[in-house]
């Protein structure tokens, strides 16, 4: 280690590196659009075979509408005669699903953290719980969705009855809690024995050690786990919407619009982009949390 002194520097939010990343993101969007249109020019109209395998997608306007047709579709009404433009319908759907995913994300994160603390505290709990956590993630979501809906439907506490949307959030949470539990457990048990001994030498209680040492030490492990949890909660919610037919969200829009694929091929893509926007919003939210939590950490790791 050198003896040079670095002053703590307040780095501005828009560093050149971050700006470059944003620029790269938009550049890659343009690139995908160009590739799409290029394929429409050179690709086979009715699909094509490579060595007898039907691999090449059809390049006709029904299967692959022009990018500008999709964009233009946003400006027209959802159904003929309606005065609601499709962009507002898609945006409302994405916003609806976003809120469900957010609930799923928070519930899943809380559950994952709770489990990880339990496992870090009691070795027995780790051995007893961890295998079931792994097993839980092998249950197909599609099979689980109707179950959760029917359980939820039977549930009511006093005046409160289980709202239908909650089932979708629960499925989001079901996918989200796992990476958090595993990542946090790894983080909570990451401090070296010297640090644990230091806390012991201060006669610190287990909770004090958790708050002052284990938890802060777990943050760098938590950041990637939360990113996984964010996309998992979106997937959980969208799949739940589709498989339970929950109205109002982007998942439902995708299946509805897909039915009109032959008459209105651009329509389904407007909803697909809505789902992508939802994923982006979610990961943007987690990235902000990441920037906040890691603001005072050594920078070498992500330089």
């Amino acid at each position: 280690m050198s003896s040079t002194i670095t002053r703590p520097q307040r780095t501005s939010f828009l560093t050149p590196r971050r700006l470059r990343r944003v620029a790269l993101f938009f550049a890659s969007l343009v690139l995908v659009a160009v590739a799409w249109e290029l394929y429409k020019v050179v690709g086979p109209e009715a699909g094509g075979k490579i060595f007898g395998w039907k691999l090449l997608p059809r390049a006709n306007d029904n299967a692959m509408p022009h990018i500008w047709e999709m964009l233009e579709r946003y400006g027209r009404p959802e159904v003929r005669g309606s005065d609601r433009k499709i962009w507002s319908v898609v945006l409302a759907g994405a916003w609806f699903s976003f809120r469900l995913a957010l609930v799923g994300f928070f519930v899943g994160t809380a559950l994952g953290l709770g489990l990880s603390i339990l496992m870090a505290r009691f070795k027995v709990a780790e051995r007893g719980i961890l295998p079931y956590l792994v097993l839980s993630q092998t249950v197909p979501l599609i099979a689980l969705a109707p179950l959760v809906v029917s359980w939820g439907g039977k549930l009511s506490i006093g005046d409160w009855t289980w709202p239908r949307w909650l089932s979708a959030s629960v499925l989001g949470a079901f996918l989200a809690f796992f990476p958090v539990a595993v990542g946090a457990l790894k983080g909570l048990t990451s401090p070296p024995s010297a640090s644990i001994e230091l806390m012991d030498s201060y006669a610190a209680s287990w909770w004090q050690t958790l708050r002052k040492l284990r938890f802060p030490a777990a943050v760098p492990f938590l950041v990637p786990a939360l990113k996984l949890a964010a996309s998992a909660s979106v997937i959980g919610v969208v799949v739940a919407e589709i498989s339970t037919g929950l109205k109002g969200g982007i998942g439902r829009l995708i299946i509805e619009y897909a039915r009109e694929a032959t008459s209105d091929p651009a329509k389904v893509f407007t909803a697909v982009f809505g789902a992508a926007l939802l994923g982006l919003a979610m990961s943007g939210f987690v990235t902000l949390a990441d920037l906040y939590m890691m603001r005072n950490r050594p920078k070498e790791a992500n330089a």
Partner: protein, 266 residues
């Protein structure tokens, strides 16, 4: 009054199992209040184990230890001692000042008082300008100084140090030794200091405890009698060299007997 009394202490790890290790046997040592005592000996002779026994991070298998007139456990609960290791062990998410405040936080001090004490400690280790820095923004030597400040933050009567300068370069090391002596002289702190370095042990200590491995025990206690206050000039003092020779000879005896035993084992 003696700060530490160690009577017939033994420590066996994994007793009864196949990988049983006899780390310490029959340790007797009495350390006076305000004294600076070094533990020296080859790797694995139980220096760190002895320090951890005093700190109550381990329980002895046999014998008893008295720290500050209490059981080691009570001394630990009362935060009677501060500890520093080879790795500074600073928390990277806390500023330098907040790292020093950690033991005070755990003791329930209020914020203003904590901060005041942290600044006082930073003055002591000459790092007052770095209160708001993070550990990873400091050099290794500065980090180690922060760790010492943290160990001294509760104004403990006793300082336990396990090769605290082991990872530093020679220049920084000598500088830190002088600073440590100055701090302890000013505060009257008793120090138990584990080291590998003979000059370091002699320069710092009133007494050097020479230990030997397998099983760990005390083979000799060398009194270092250097007149007056120690300073950089001490390093050219003939008494300093005499001390070094005495410790080296004691250690050589350790290696010899070890060597002989090695042959017997075959």
């Amino acid at each position: 009054m003696s700060a530490i009394e160690i009577n017939n202490v033994n420590k066996v790890f994994n007793a009864g199992s196949g990988n049983q290790v006899v780390a310490l046997t029959d340790i007797n040592l009495s350390i006076a209040s305000g004294e600076f005592v070094s533990l020296i000996g080859p790797s694995g002779c139980g220096k760190s184990t002895l320090l951890r026994l005093i700190a109550n991070l381990l329980e002895p298998t046999g014998g008893d230890i008295v720290v500050n007139g209490k059981s080691p456990k009570q001394a630990r609960l009362d935060q009677d001692y501060g500890m520093a290791f080879q790795q500074s062990g600073l928390f990277e998410w806390r500023t330098v000042a907040k790292n020093i405040e950690l033991p005070l936080e755990l003791k329930g001090w209020d914020k203003a008082k904590r901060h005041e004490r942290a600044m006082e400690m930073l003055e002591l280790v000459k790092l007052a300008d770095f209160a708001g820095h993070y550990p990873w923004q400091l050099s290794g030597g500065m980090q180690q100084r922060v760790a010492i400040a943290r160990a001294l933050a509760v104004h403990p009567a006793l300082l336990l140090m396990d090769e605290p300068f082991g990872a530093l370069d020679e220049m920084t090391r000598e500088h830190m030794q002088s600073e440590l002596l100055g701090i302890c002289r000013a505060s009257g702190t008793t120090v138990v200091f584990v080291t590998h370095s003979i000059p370091e042990a002699v320069y710092l200590s009133n007494r050097v405890v020479v230990m030997s491995p397998r099983p760990g025990r005390v083979t000799e206690i060398v009194d270092v009698s250097i007149e007056g206050e120690r300073s950089d000039a001490t390093r050219d003092n003939s008494a300093f060299f005499k001390g070094i020779t005495a410790v080296r000879e004691a250690l050589r005896g350790v290696e010899m007997s070890d060597h002989v035993r090695g042959i017997e084992d075959r």
